[in-house]
């Protein structure tokens, strides 16, 4: 592509002359299902759960959402690291091997 001639180029004197340009849009990456990485699936026993919110706090993927008064795992995004199961104060979470299809 030919460069525009000098007299055809826009003449910006200060930053105020530069037109508004989008630098970032907010398309979220939620559509990237990282759940396929998982080897172990966290299963919660709701009878043992004391609803302290520690699993929600300690999830590195933000894949645990708090609904009303209990945690819900987003299995589409949970990578199965097992931090929730290890940190749970009442041992309500078990890591189970994903079943082969």
């Amino acid at each position: 592509m030919d460069r525009p001639r000098k007299d055809e180029r826009p003449d910006y004197k200060t930053w105020k002359d530069i037109p508004l340009t989008p630098v970032c849009n907010f398309t979220t990456i939620k559509g990237n299902p990282t759940g396929g990485w998982r080897t172990f699936r966290p299963i919660v026993d709701m009878d043992k759960c004391i609803k302290c919110g520690i699993c929600w706090q300690d999830c590195p993927d933000a894949a645990i959402v708090w609904e009303e008064d209990h945690p819900v795992w987003l299995y589409s995004h949970c990578k199965g690291c097992g931090i929730c199961a290890r940190e749970c104060p009442s041992d309500a979470i078990e890591m189970e091997l994903e079943v082969k299809i």
């Binding site: 930053w15 979220t28 990456i29 990237n32 302290c52 933000a62 009303e68 008064d69 690291c81």
Partner: protein, 300 residues
């Protein structure tokens, strides 16, 4: 949310779907930091794990504006963002520079030093996974003494890292920075309080966050928070803050042994008990020094 109160602010500015490793400590650090800063934040990230993890353009896992910069210019870019905001008269935005230990302690140190010296009102966070993890576990100046990395190999010849870890917080204190602190992902409330304090400072602020890396440190991913907690309990990573030269050290009743902390990680597996002994001596010496600093500066 109804019913019981959650331990942290509920707002989620980091979406799931990012491509961080299983049990990544850097993800905890980012999630808690964004919970503290809120949506009125601009973040600048150089080459580091977090340059890759948000996803491929045009996707991002952040719900805040996000700039990817070159490795050495994080602090220069946040100085520029602050100057632009000042020119437009916008005051309520937090400008956050977010770099790994390589981008801070090795490559980005001159830009950071310049920013702190100029007194730009911006926050700089170094999340410390103690090597260049993104490119494949190469040694950085923040790698602790004795550690295995792919450039300090241990095989027939034991060529582990001989030099001690660079102390970035002390370098910042030497600049006369108004606020600097160390934080650990195992204490999220403390981390959030420190970030909020740094936001309120009228000038530069620096926070060093300890973020274990399961891939590079060679431990199972579910132990991230356990190892982070142990590092502080063993005094390897003491939690302290320095406000205008006054030290405040967070003290813990619980103690952990340094050799236990090191033996949990594959990167220290080759060390002998004598080598661990000499490392623990230097750890204890530094912690005692820190307590003396606290005593000295609190009295003034």
């Amino acid at each position: 949310m109804a019913g019981k109160k959650l331990p942290l602010p509920e707002e989620e500015l980091m979406d799931p779907g990012h491509v961080g490793c299983l049990g990544c400590g850097g993800c905890h650090a980012m999630r808690y930091t964004l919970k503290a800063t809120g949506p009125r934040t601009i973040i600048s990230i150089p080459a580091c794990c977090w340059a890759v993890m948000p996803g491929v353009y045009p996707n991002t896992c952040f719900n805040i504006p996000h700039i990817n910069t070159a490795f050495e210019v994080t602090a220069a870019s946040i100085s520029g963002i602050r100057a632009a905001l000042d020119a437009r008269g916008i005051e309520d935005i937090t400008v956050l520079g977010w770099a790994g230990d390589g981008g801070t302690a090795d490559i980005g140190i001159q830009a950071l030093s310049g920013m702190v010296e100029r007194g730009t009102k911006a926050m700089y966070i170094m999340y410390d996974n103690e090597a260049y993890m993104n490119t494949g576990i190469q040694r950085s100046s923040s790698t602790p003494i004795g550690a295995w990395t792919t450039t300090t190999q241990v095989g027939k010849v034991r060529d582990y890292k001989r030099a001690p870890k660079k102390n970035m917080v002390e370098i910042m204190v030497a600049h006369g920075i108004p606020y600097t602190a160390t934080a650990n992902i195992a204490w999220p409330k403390d981390l959030i309080a420190k970030v909020k304090k740094a936001m309120a400072v009228d000038g530069p602020s620096f926070i060093h966050i300890f973020a274990p890396c399961p891939t590079g440190w060679r431990y199972p991913p579910d132990r991230t928070l356990e190892i982070a907690r142990m590092a502080t309990h063993a005094k390897i990573f003491p939690l302290y803050e320095v406000e205008n030269g006054v030290y405040t050290v967070k003290k813990f009743k619980k103690e952990a042994s340094i050799s236990e902390y090191m033996m949990m990680q594959g990167r220290f597996r080759h060390l002998t008990q004598e080598e661990i002994g000499s490392i623990s001596e230097s750890v204890v010496r530094w912690y005692d020094k820190l307590l003396k600093f606290e005593l000295m500066t609190q009295e003034e």
